[in-house]
């Protein structure tokens, strides 16, 4: 049995940020990351980040991961363990994990769940053909391993992920035939969209995929797209077909909340936040005492917000554990201010709505 002050589940931007703050406060911290690589989605991000200096704006994602890890490297009270999947959370306070192939039990005094989100899928005939990928898979192939996923790709989804990954595909030498978006407008930042347009990539709004076809051995060979009417129904006669060897699906993320459900956290469904999210207080505590959340598991946002919410969760957990830092209150307030400013623009309206729905007080 591993006894530890704080267990952090996930070594993405949120989990690493939480570990830094809790570690700074003096807590013994164990960070478990299921991948063999640390940094979560950051390591696949080759673009310069938005936000402000505090969230490392203009740095590229993989560089930010290195910065956070270098900071943690200096801390003796923080252990970061890759290849370690948290398996379950039980109501007797025991968490189990597979750590480098071994089954382990952990009894933490507090936990920050920073499991992130998983990609949503889409239903259309042929949706399971080889050559149809989640956007994250394509990023893994090209940005993490330097492997070209395909030659000609159609991207489904013009949110930030769809737009960014399309651009990254072009940087990897892949021809992006079109970006297709069901909504009448582009969901992602328009600067991302313009980057693609000036490379000659069309973006079809109010369009979706009708079906995908391919031979048994090679997988995907063509996709047929069609226009949607105002009720999101395909308009017959509007079909057109592209011969492509890959289709990339970027239709949103859904918080990976299994552990929170298992431990009995109260949850609520928020479409703008991507799915079920936990009720939490302002300082990232869930309905379960000692269980905190950080990053996308609390509702899907940008990596910059994930880092700040991670810091906030780390400080709150350390405080709950009885660790003190001279400026704890000011640090928490600074996190709250940063989150408020990141969420305050017109692109943050849906996030503000989600937070309003899920934010409560437990005292």
């Amino acid at each position: 049995m591993i006894n530890i002050d704080l267990l952090v589940v996930g070594a993405g931007p949120a989990g690493l940020s939480a570990a830094i703050k809790a570690g700074n406060a003096g807590a013994s911290v164990l960070v478990l990351e299921r991948s063999h690589q640390l940094g979560g989605q950051l390591v696949k991000q080759t673009h310069m980040f938005f936000g402000s200096e505090k969230q490392y704006a203009t740095h590229r994602g993989f560089e930010i991961s290195d910065i956070l890890l270098a900071e943690l490297d200096k801390m003796e009270n923080v252990t970061i363990q890759p290849h370690a999947t948290v398996l379950a959370a039980y109501d007797d306070g025991i968490w189990t994990a597979e750590i480098e192939g071994q089954y382990q039990k952990i009894k933490p005094s507090a936990v920050v769940v920073a499991t992130g989100a998983s990609e949503k899928s889409l239903l259309f005939p042929g949706n399971d053909l080889p050559g149809i990928y989640g956007a994250g898979a394509v990023q893994t192939l090209m940005n993490q391993y330097g492997v070209k996923p395909a030659n000609r790709v159609v991207m489904l989804g013009a949110g930030n992920i769809g737009l960014i990954v399309s651009y990254q595909l072009m940087q990897a030498g892949v021809e992006v035939i079109a970006v297709v978006e069901g909504s009448p407008t582009i969901g992602g930042y328009l600067v991302h969209a313009s980057k693609l347009r000036r490379m000659g990539v069309p973006i079809f709004t109010s369009h979706t995929i009708k079906n995908a076809k391919g031979a048994n051995t090679n997988g995907l060979e063509s996709v047929t797209l069609w226009k949607l009417d105002e009720n999101w129904q395909g308009i017959s006669g509007s079909e057109f077909t592209y011969h492509v060897d890959a289709l990339c699906i970027a239709v949103g993320l859904s918080p990976l909340s299994e552990l929170l459900w298992q431990i009995g956290c109260k949850m609520t469904f928020s479409a703008p936040m991507g799915g079920y999210i936990p009720y939490r207080d302002k300082y990232m505590r869930t309905s379960q005492k000692g269980i905190y959340i950080a990053g996308d598991v609390g509702g899907v946002e940008e990596a910059s917000s994930a880092m700040v919410s991670g810091q906030l969760a780390g400080i709150s957990a350390a405080e709950y554990l009885g660790f003190e830092m001279p400026n704890m209150a000011a640090m928490k307030q600074d996190c709250l201010n940063q989150l408020a400013s990141l969420r305050q623009g017109p692109k943050g309206a849906h996030i503000r709505a989600g937070i309003r729905q899920a934010e409560v007080s437990f005292e």
Partner: protein, 250 residues
């Protein structure tokens, strides 16, 4: 026009339909037979002489709408498949149309079909209310459609099974899910148990959000009013031997 396109004009269709008063009084046959040809089985089929006896076999049929009770016998007897029965007050919101359909597979009671217009375009969904298969092999299918479509719907087509994959682990398609929802399995947990959906190695991460969307559409309820189902440990599969090796050491 009909001679050029095979599709009757609106004027022709209006002339085939009884007036509104008669429509409101109950089921009635509508005969879209506009060209004199040597053919009279409809008049012979009607037990109530609602289709007036022909003087000449080349007559186009003429209805006495007051005698017609919408039984549909003429529907299955017309070699031109020119007759339907319309019951505009079948329910509060829906009209019933009985129409002939000579293809296989036959629709099933309760199935949702595409209702087609006179040019074969799908214009709405229609529920199959009844299927009668007479000895002469011209089945009569009763479908429920929105009332304002009675002059438009003239055919049906069975939608292709949607074989989009919902659950990769257990190979379950959206058609499977829709069929179980139609049978009354109306929550994620029920669907999981009856189909094994979400019980595979992925632990439901891919399929559960898709199923919730299907449930939401079918039940006409927002997802926030559905329940997400149980979340059982463990989140990633682990070998029995590796778990057995646990010695409680720290």
């Amino acid at each position: 026009m009909l001679e050029k396109t095979g599709v009757p004009t609106e004027t022709q269709i209006d002339s085939a339909f009884p007036n509104e008063t008669r429509l409101n009084e109950g089921p009635v046959a509508v005969i879209e037979c506009f060209q004199p040809i040597p053919c009279n089985p409809c008049a012979m089929a009607c037990p109530r002489q609602a289709i007036l006896p022909f003087a000449d076999i080349n007559d186009v049929p003429v209805m006495d709408n007051d005698k017609c009770n919408g039984c549909g016998l003429c529907v299955m007897k017309c070699p031109g498949l020119a007759i339907i029965v319309v019951d505009i007050n079948w329910s509060e919101t829906k009209a019933l149309i009985k129409l002939p359909y000579e293809f296989r597979p036959l629709p099933q009671k309760g199935q949702i079909l595409h209702a087609l217009d006179r040019e074969g375009h799908p214009i709405a969904n229609a529920e199959v209310i009844n299927v009668i298969v007479p000895a002469n092999k011209t089945p009569v299918i009763s479908i429920a459609v929105d009332k304002d479509l009675i002059k438009k719907v003239r055919n049906i087509c069975i939608p292709e099974d949607n074989d989009s994959i919902v659950c990769r682990c257990s190979d379950i398609t959206v058609a499977d899910i829709q069929s179980f929802i139609a049978q009354g399995y109306t929550s994620v947990d029920e669907l999981k148990r009856i189909t094994r959906l979400g019980m595979g190695a992925c632990q439901g991460r891919t399929c559960i959000p898709l199923v919730m969307r299907e449930l939401s559409t079918a039940l006409k309820k927002p997802i926030s009013e559905l329940t997400s189902g149980t979340h059982r440990p463990i989140v990633k599969s682990m070998k029995l031997g590796d778990v057995a090796a646990y010695g409680g050491k720290s």
